[in-house]
Amino acid sequence: MNTNYFLIDYFNESPSIIQVAWSISVVFFIIIIPLILYLKFLRGHLRKKERVTAELENDYESSLINYLYSGNEEEEISAEQQVIINQLKECIKDPFRRKILIGVLLKLKNEISGEIAESIHKLYFHTGLVNFALSRLKHEKWFVIAKGIRELKQFHVKEAHDEVIVHINHPRREVRKEMQLYMVNLFYFEGLDFLDVLETPLSEWDQIQLLEVLQRMENQNISNIKSWLNSSNDSVIIFALKLAKIYNQFEAKDELINLLHHINKKIRLESIHVLSYLNALEAKEILKNNIEERSPEEQIAFFKMMEDLYEQTDESFVVKYIHHEIFEIKVSTLKILKVLNRERFNLLKFESSEPKFLRIVNFIENN
């Protein structure tokens, strides 16, 4: 009792700063103790969860291996397999166990091909896991839908096509991305048909992911891209231009040439690059006629194109631009002139006294 009085007296008689320091210390102590207890509980809980997860994983791995090796050629599903399916059906009623089982199935499915991969696919259907994934597609939360689509893609559930494509213009980018990847991974180039009705923008990252999937496919027979080059969605046109370049779509040349007059500058510019890559001489003539009206970027792209597609008759046209104010155009035209008429090119050194221009001429002469 005396100690308590002594402490209270000590506190009351202490300077204000000491009182504040003691008060803060007490507050921190009161906060820290429950936090430490909570962290201890959390760590214990996580460790327990980790242990349970590892045990369940082991159980499911053993069940899966037993399932895969207990089949026979006479029956689609043997009696032994049916027992395992029934056990798993019970387990997946619990979302936590279901998640672990899906993880185990994917862990093996990603490493294996042939009959065993088909067996895993069948198991996914027979256990009813597919129904859980399909039910996620109708969920109100966007991330649940995205996860559902991803799972259907990972298990190659082609049957869910109609339910997945409903999300083509979903407000969330993540859902749209999963939908697009599902289509392309499962239906290859035919899966790109979603581009016909896509109203939302296809981001650069989405395009890269789609192209990456397409290039991994064994079947490289691309479907007709003409309708996408005429799309009202600019990002679809940009993507179709990439496809035209990668898959040498020379048959879409007319549509590509039409894009030279598109309202969007980026599309006009990309179409010049693609037409240049495809060596479309008609495009060169069209651009020659109205190059002055085009943006500097388009002019530069056009003269880059000329470097590959020049003809003898282009000399007079090229000469007009050798003193152009844009450096890239100057360089391109000088390169072309050097090949078309070496004598005329050599004369430039004597005709001009401008040091910068002469440096460019000398550089091109020696390279």
């Binding site: 791995e61 862990k107 093996l108 091909s113 042939g114 065993i116």
Partner: protein, 122 residues
């Protein structure tokens, strides 16, 4: 079973390891499993297997280091089949430079693996 040919199988994916182990045991081989490169090297040194199957990407010691150890340190001519994933083509070339005998690209067919194993152990 004592005459069974020994195979060291190194793979960090536990279920894939289990699947291949069962499949190869069904064919009459004795399978010694390792979940990382370090365990694989210990098993190889201890048992001198007739064949080594190893994944390339493994914790602690990679499949490449296992090959290098077998060929350069242990001077063993044991055939080695490596498992690679898509996009690891350059690593597969390195594996061949180090002395790998064959490679299989994941996802792989266990039946095809058995054919290759049988051919190498004929």
């Amino acid at each position: 079973m004592s005459d069974a040919k020994k195979i060291v199988l190194a793979e960090d994916n536990s279920i894939f390891l289990l699947l291949l182990k069962f499949r190869l045991e069904k064919e009459g081989y004795k399978i010694l499993t390792a979940v990382d490169g370090k365990e694989a090297i210990d098993l190889i040194e201890e048992h001198s297997p007739e064949l080594i199957l190893t994944d390339i990407m493994m914790p602690f010691i990679s499949g490449l280091e296992v090959i290098s150890h077998v060929r350069n340190k242990l001077n063993m001519k044991t055939p080695i089949i490596v498992f690679s994933s898509a996009g690891q083509e350059e690593i597969v070339l390195k594996a061949f430079d180090l002395g790998a005998t064959d490679f299989m690209s994941k996802p792989l067919s266990p039946n095809e693996l058995v054919i290759r194993v049988k051919r190498l152990l004929r």
